[in-house]
């Protein structure tokens, strides 16, 4: 029972982190119709910027400044790159962001080198916040949960309660009408892109110390973020949250509980061939759930796309 609670918290951390990335991505998609392949690269930039700043000014200034810098870089990419490619259509846009992801990774390697950098959590958040029976819950995880929830609440407030949010929501569904009403839609696009990438930057700043900061970190998370928003339904913030939590819990539980195929097959009534390593079915018999934890999201996405192309909460086709 205690273990379940611990895993629930772990899954929640992963899920909220994924959500912070996918929230920006899904907003950008619903607005501009472009899936930003480089989104996770901005997450990586967040971590690296924060590391560089934290050397001089400490972790907290990094948390404050790095997302802003990432947002500025993101807005510049939209203004000078994406807007230019936009005229060629959606597929070249996707290819552009893919190229951008490659380029950012190479740039990061160029500046900070190939190895992992020593980006640490601040001293004040080291140690355990509380413990459930014998399991310690690190203070940093609690901090991550509250920060992500705070950002989600802020985003929800801006999107539903403020004038800017209204314009964004309107521009999501009827960009041309909003433009006809005199709003500067390209500026709104640039702003949303900047804010979306800044959110990814925040995720990078807080995830960098725990998930380790290295040039491949964007690649590791990149496709999972896609999977999240496709499962949740493109353009749906709530869907992104649900999908992120599902993926977070699914992978955490699959890793925590070693469910072995051997037990399932024996339970169903098959007999284990001996010796196992000579059998053609060896891989099936030795399969365990931690092994397949990382591919479960992809499996789920393919099933969703085949049976419900709108995603869980999406209103429009991908």
């Amino acid at each position: 029972m205690d273990l379940i609670l611990v895993n629930l918290i772990d899954g929640l951390v992963t899920g909220l982190l994924l959500f912070m990335l996918s929230a920006g991505l899904t907003l950008i998609f619903s607005m501009m119709g472009v899936l930003n392949f480089a989104h996770a690269s901005f997450y990586m930039l967040g971590a690296y910027f924060a590391y560089q700043i934290s050397i001089y000014l400490g972790f907290w200034m990094g948390l404050l400044i790095a997302p802003l810098l990432v947002g500025i870089v993101g807005a510049a990419v939209e203004r000078y790159g994406l807007r230019r490619v936009h005229q060629y259509g959606h597929v070249p846009e996707l290819i552009f962001t893919f190229g951008l992801a490659l380029l950012i990774e190479e740039l990061v390697k160029f500046i900070w080198g190939n190895d992992q950098i020593p980006y640490q959590i601040p001293e004040i958040l080291e140690g355990a916040a509380f413990s459930i029976s014998s399991y310690d819950i690190p203070a940093y995880k609690v901090f991550m949960i509250f920060l992500s929830l705070g950002i989600f609440a802020g985003l929800l407030f801006v999107m539903t309660r403020t004038r800017v949010g209204m314009i964004i929501q309107a521009a999501l569904s009827y960009p041309r009408t909003v433009e006809a009403l005199g709003h500067n839609v390209p500026l709104v696009f640039m702003g949303v892109f900047g804010v979306g990438t800044a959110l990814a930057g925040v995720a990078g700043v807080i995830a960098g110390p725990v998930l380790s900061t290295f040039p491949g970190m964007a690649f590791v998370l990149g496709s999972i973020v896609f999977v999240t928003i496709v499962i949740g339904g493109l353009g749906s913030l709530g869907g992104a949250l649900v999908a992120a939590l599902i993926i977070g819990w699914m992978t955490t539980f699959a890793k925590a509980y070693n469910i072995r195929m051997e037990d399932i097959l024996t339970g169903v009534g098959f007999t284990k061939p001996e010796p196992i390593w000579d059998s053609a079915w060896a891989d099936l018999w030795t399969l365990t759930s931690p092994q397949i934890a990382d591919i479960l999201p992809y499996l789920l996405m393919i099933l969703i796309l085949v049976f419900r192309p709108y995603g869980l909460f999406g209103k429009r086709d991908v």
């Binding site: 899936l35 790159g81 230019r84 490619v85 005229q87 060629y88 259509g89 959606h90 597929v91 070249p92 996707l94 290819i95 552009f96 893919f98 190229g99 951008l100 490659l102 380029l103 990774e105 190479e106 740039l107 390697k109 160029f110 500046i111 080198g113 690649f219 496709s223 896609f226 999977v227 496709v230 053609a280 060896a282 891989d283 399969l287 092994q291 397949i292 990382d294 591919i295 992809y298 499996l299 996405m301 393919i302 796309l305 085949v306 192309p309 086709d317 991908v318």
Partner: protein, 426 residues
């Protein structure tokens, strides 16, 4: 979807001397290449190039001709290759002539594609891209789980020389493998070209440009896409078979997103709108890769920058840029272009060399072992702590940029004039 450059199409049927010429020329070139470049490393590079060409052409059947952006095309090549390597390890291999092996890879690539395509080709665009990404990651991740087939971390290796001798040839040396690969390259390129000329290939273009109208003509855009997809899977499998013969080992690397992404890069760099675009892309990319990676550690940074620049400024790729020059050549106005090109592009190249010099200096200054300050760049050896090289490269970059910028309007002007029949002013 319409935005991808339209394939050059001519409707005259039959085989004329004019349409056969490029193929005859390519065949002669393929035969002669080993006599021109005789070194072993050159032949290795050419083998690699030929395999990449087949793979890129197969990829362009999806992206260029069918309007389907795939992020998981490496899977079909990989699976074809894995099957071939497994066959190499079987007893039966002794009675199969090696040159037929790629065909088997093709068949298995096709079988996999026909299964995946069943659900992935319902939509083009983003859905297709996402499903291809998902399937690609899934199969790549399976490679460490299904050890029986994919060999886990170390992959599967075989030995091509156990095959039945083919007219006495046992494929012990690189040059024999080269001719095998070149033969398959020619056959598959020709088949892919012919495929693009069949009604089904033409319909693929129509569906790419406007699926709705194609549906009104009575075609199911889904099945048109499905056919292209399966055919592309077949040729990717052939490329995989060739890979297996050439390298005799396949690993997880042949399946993952990096490989799928790099073939997108190759194809787009070459140009998706023209049939021979991927060929250009594969040749240029392989050369860049081998030459640059010998010269500099950060070659992939340059390749990445080149790719992004291509997407932003030349979305029709290298072949598209070449094709733009057909009109001035036919009009005989190309002479107008020579001088403006020289005075603009030479400074531009100087600017790029200056920039890359600065980048190399910076990289060396940051990442080399402490105390080691000596470096060699453009055949000159100097210390990165000296001020002179920095100044030289900075001046090169700034002056080159300034000159190129100054002369660019002249080039544009000449370009517009060259595209008018009489070469007159505006």
């Amino acid at each position: 979807m319409q935005s991808l450059e339209k394939t050059q199409t001519r409707s005259d049927g039959g085989v004329s001397m004019k349409s056969a010429m490029p193929w005859i020329f390519s065949a002669v070139m393929l035969v002669l290449m080993p006599f021109i470049f005789q070194s072993n490393s050159a032949i290795t590079i050419m083998n690699q190039m030929a395999i990449t060409i087949v793979f890129a052409l197969s990829y362009n059947m999806l992206l260029g001709q069918g309007g389907m952006l795939s992020f998981g095309h490496a899977v079909y090549m990989g699976v074809g290759g894995f099957v071939c390597v497994h066959v190499m390890n079987w007893e039966i291999f002794g009675s199969i002539p090696l040159p037929l092996l790629p065909l088997l890879g093709g068949v298995f690539g096709m079988i996999l594609a026909s299964m995946v395509g069943y659900f992935s080709t319902r939509k083009a665009g983003t859905v297709f891209a996402m499903i291809s990404l998902g399937v690609g990651e899934l199969i790549a991740a399976c490679s460490v789980i299904i050890v029986v087939f994919f060999g886990g971390e170390e992959g599967v290796s075989g030995d091509r020389t156990y095959g039945m001798p083919f007219f006495g040839v046992e494929f012990l040396s690189q040059i024999e493998v080269y001719y095998l690969t070149a033969g398959w390259l020619l056959i598959s390129a020709l088949l892919m070209y012919l495929f693009s000329r069949t009604p089904i290939g033409r319909m693929a273009n129509a569906v790419r440009d406007n699926p709705e109208r194609a549906e009104f003509l009575g075609y199911s855009s889904r099945w048109v896409r499905y056919n292209s997809f399966v055919a592309a899977g077949f040729f990717a499998g052939i490329a995989g078979g060739l890979f297996a013969i050439n390298y005799e080992i396949l690993t997880e690397e042949n399946l993952n997103l990096t490989t799928s992404g790099s073939i997108l890069l190759v194809t787009f760099l070459g140009g998706v709108g023209v049939f021979f675009g991927p060929v250009v892309g594969a040749i240029v990319f392989t050369l860049l890769q081998t030459v640059l990676s010998l010269e500099t550690e950060i070659w992939s940074l340059y390749v990445g920058a080149l790719f992004v620049a291509t997407v932003m400024f030349f979305p029709s790729g290298l072949a598209g840029v070449m094709q733009l020059h057909i009109a001035p050549i036919k009009l005989g106005t190309w002479r107008l272009l020579v001088m403006p090109y020289i005075i603009t592009l030479v400074p531009a190249i100087i600017c790029i060399l200056g920039l890359s010099g600065l980048i190399e200096l910076l990289f060396h200054a940051r990442h080399t072992a402490i105390g080691e300050t000596e470096m060699t760049l453009f055949w000159v050896t100097f210390q990165h702590t000296e001020i002179l090289p920095w100044v030289v490269f900075a001046v090169k970059a700034v002056v080159g940029f300034w000159l190129a910028r100054k002369n660019a309007p002249q080039m544009m002007d000449a370009w517009h004039r060259a595209n008018k029949p009489d070469g007159a002013d505006t």
